[in-house]
Symmetry: D2
Subunit: 307 residues, 4 copies
């Protein structure tokens, strides 16, 4: 990595992207997402040594959606460790052959913890072990984010339930294969609340720092997961964090990361930094159009990726 | 990475694995592969600073098979650059839905350059640009390996042709979609010769050093590919280098790499080292059973992976 | 058709089958089905001119299960006519690629009214048009069977609900595509009651006579469906009445028909007769092992099929 | 069947269809098919008792294409009888999941003898048993058609070879599964010649009369196949004769039949008549748009189908 001032790099990126058309369409399947200004753009980077760098709408909270599947995975790994991998795989899902097709062929074992089916199984695991799943899960996220202020957006969670037919199909198919152990509606309730967490880029970047440090919370010094688990979470993000665009992201950005349909993307360089970007317009694969561009420019200009 | 003596690590790994049953079956679909002693085990690591470390049958040549698909990809990227990506993708293939099914659904564009279909398309590209494809390709491999001694094994290549029905189905399906431009038999001929290259672990590890150094040949100082291309080849290896076990390899080993049906695996840590292992027995996904174990122990003991 | 005494033919068939092992396993996914003696065997044929012929356990009622999907289809065609075909197709489903996979690929439109998804859509249609769906549907079946005595088996219907995860996955997937208009639980409730109807071979054969006569109820003279509709129902039975064994049944028996997982099969020769057989052991495709054999011998001995 | 004068029915049908737009596009993947006037329309019906009826372009020869797959199937059944069914199935293929996908999943056994893969396997069987496959096959067709005048169109056959990549993919995939026993190019050569046979509607209807009569050649009295085999060929046509529109054809026309990409359709009513129509424009499923309409009107007006 060149010795670069990130602030300058962010400036350059924003200038370079300004003339570019912000393509894609923001998610609008629930009213709360449809209301957001689709042209918001923010970035925040936390470096282990060099501190914080940010630009644009980095202080505005948004729905982190699927990004929080990294938190639920982390919590499930803390609770049952490697037992988890009998319930969900670690392989990329392939693609068009996603969702129910692959799930049926593979007997109700989702390919990885980040596709919907996999994240639902993770919620089922949490339901089995947590006393107050919704409360405990939120507290865990607050803990690793060092932020007692984080909240579910109940409106978002409740809205999701109204368009939940596909997820119901997924969960009933998995229960048919014996891979769901709790009440279907309660599991989905937890899932929708999980996806409704809101953060801004700054909060998001900080909440992923434990994966930069090999599992350690920099503030408290507590070990969130052990170094081997941290590496494995990063590996799963690298392989499966971007729906059917994981290859593209690895190819162009070269960092493990996770995207959400709210337009957020978080990526991280183990040992160095975590970075969160937010821009609501999504490309055809469901990832933030501008977010991908920003991160591609970032690792290109810094000549630094994990590869 | 701990400051560890690799030699000691290798010793430890070999001792640790000794009582373990070497599971799996060596490839035997062609007589040349069936003849090999299935319990061979060798490893060779080249570190940019610390030099060479090896153990076991590291000086015995074997058929590197699909590992050489990294060489053909590299050569194709040198020749036509990013144009290549209109002919072949960079996404993991998914799985069981591999081969012809996905290829038919996705209109003859293979998911990545390492599945058979993708490597065949790469050979078709090489056919279009090289004067003497077989000679030029071998010379390129010799060049990056700094070894004029490397050879195709003609017996292996000719044997492959006798069991080439599946590959013929693939190439004709792709030609039906317009994604093959040269004579089908000539393209397959090049493909089979490519897969017949033989190396030992030492030669193999050295031949991948240009991907450790950001594209530079350490011996000659020549730039084989530019740094961005080197990173991208590594990213594609990480996502697609192990058939339907790429996630497993990323999860357990945490390095980009490529395996071959001859029992070889090469992996590398950008900026640090390349390592080649060889053990002919294959697990159910077609990757070396012991090779995977050795590499998992290696990165575990060294507490070092790219994640 | 030879001028044959059906009674003699039945005798011959039973003698011929006696030494044969009754292969297959009776359905046991709900307790009510598991209780049935798996070696029951009955047959009853009603000929338009020659009257009734029967043998074996033809007077014992059993769960007709999917056979009643012909009744629900008939009722739906009476109510909304050809409009129905925008909601469900008339093509065979193919096979292994059944259920959710095909349904997802084809946007929630089931291939035909006899696969589970299709029968559920038919129930959804009935829900939209009937005042008291469960009562009205049963009354319709009683009417075409000329038998006020027929009943749902509530125990069976309620048991089915306990193993309904796969059907729930199907209905939620279809609702996700907009092809379910009523409350999911109410639609499935109607579906399970539909499948729980019990008849004996005699009652079953009589209830299909309106499809032998071009739509006319022989007792009342009423037109249940018009001749064109009767032909079409027969055509759909021919093409789709035996899961992934429709071709086998057409090939060996050569009559339109419908089977149920309770071991019943009904078949008919337009203009001539309807015949019902019952034997609980099912072959691997889910059709009555002995039932198929009996009908194959019947049309072979009589040298008479629609082909 | 009403006592109707077919000539009058044909007149009525042609008048009724005149104002209708002839939709669809004629096949043009080979020059010989592209040259044909797409608005040709002919029909010829041969009744066992009432003789011949025809209208329109019924005397003009056209490429019968896939219709001749019924002849090759018939010849293969004569030669090896029921052994044939270990090489090819009798089930409808499903659909979109056609071609290579299903073939790969089902281990190289084509679903039925009328999809390309199945017809190619039939040609492979004929190659194994006939002395002069091309000559013997043509002579067999001439024999059942009672017409020494019939010919392959070599131009068509040779043109097909130039666009044969998909069929090559199919045959190599099947050979990979062990389901092709002869030289690939020779098998495909026979297949393309088979599909190049030319007939007019009159010749075509006559050549199918042995399937109306239970296997007997009306002219010579010779038994082409036994009655059981004739019924089975009819059953396979009913279930599989119209690609992914077999259900639609059974539903609307209600007769066993077979279509070809040249715009021909032949259908037959066992015991009564065979009818051939020709109109080159194809609907989206690859069947003659007008041909389907003509036959639907025919069985509707005559109130007569096998159902």
């Amino acid at each position: 990595m060149k010795d670069i001032n990130f602030k300058t790099v962010f400036n350059d990126i924003f200038i370079e992207l300004q003339p570019l058309e912000n393509k894609g369409v923001a998610a609008s399947y629930i009213p709360e997402l449809a209301k957001i200004d689709p042209d918001k753009l923010g970035i925040h980077l936390v470096h282990v040594d060099k501190g914080n760098f940010y630009q644009g709408d980095s202080q505005e909270r948004f729905s982190i959606q699927s990004i929080s599947k990294v938190f639920s995975l982390t919590l499930a790994m803390r609770i049952i460790g490697s037992e988890l991998w009998s319930r969900v795989g670690v392989e990329p899902s392939g693609t068009a052959f996603n969702s129910l097709i692959q799930l049926e062929v593979e007997n109700g074992i989702p390919r990885n913890p980040f596709i919907n089916a996999g994240a639902i199984v993770i919620c089922d695991v949490l339901m089995s072990y947590l006393d107050n799943p919704k409360v405990d899960l939120l507290n865990f996220v607050r803990k690793i984010a060092n932020n007692q202020n984080l909240q579910y957006n109940e409106k978002v969670a409740e809205s999701e339930k109204l368009t939940s037919d596909r997820n119901k199909a997924l969960i009933y198919l998995m229960r048919d294969f014996g891979n769901i152990h709790n009440d279907v509606d309660e599991v989905l309730d937890l899932y929708f609340y999980l996806c409704s967490i809101e953060m801004n880029c700054c909060e998001l970047a900080h909440s992923f720092m434990f994966l930069v440090t090999g599992g350690v919370d920099l503030t408290s010094g507590e070990m969130i997961v052990n170094p081997s688990q941290a590496k494995r979470i990063n590996a799963v993000m690298q392989l499966c964090g971007f729906y059917d665009e994981a290859g593209e992201f690895a190819f162009k950005v070269g960092l493990p990361g996770k995207s959400g349909v709210g337009g957020g993307i978080v990526a991280l360089h183990p040992g160095k930094y975590a970075v969160a970007v937010w821009s609501p317009r999504l490309n055809k694969k469901g990832n933030s159009y501008m977010g991908m561009k920003v991160l591609e420019l970032l690792t290109t200009k810094m000549e630094d990726s994990i590869f």
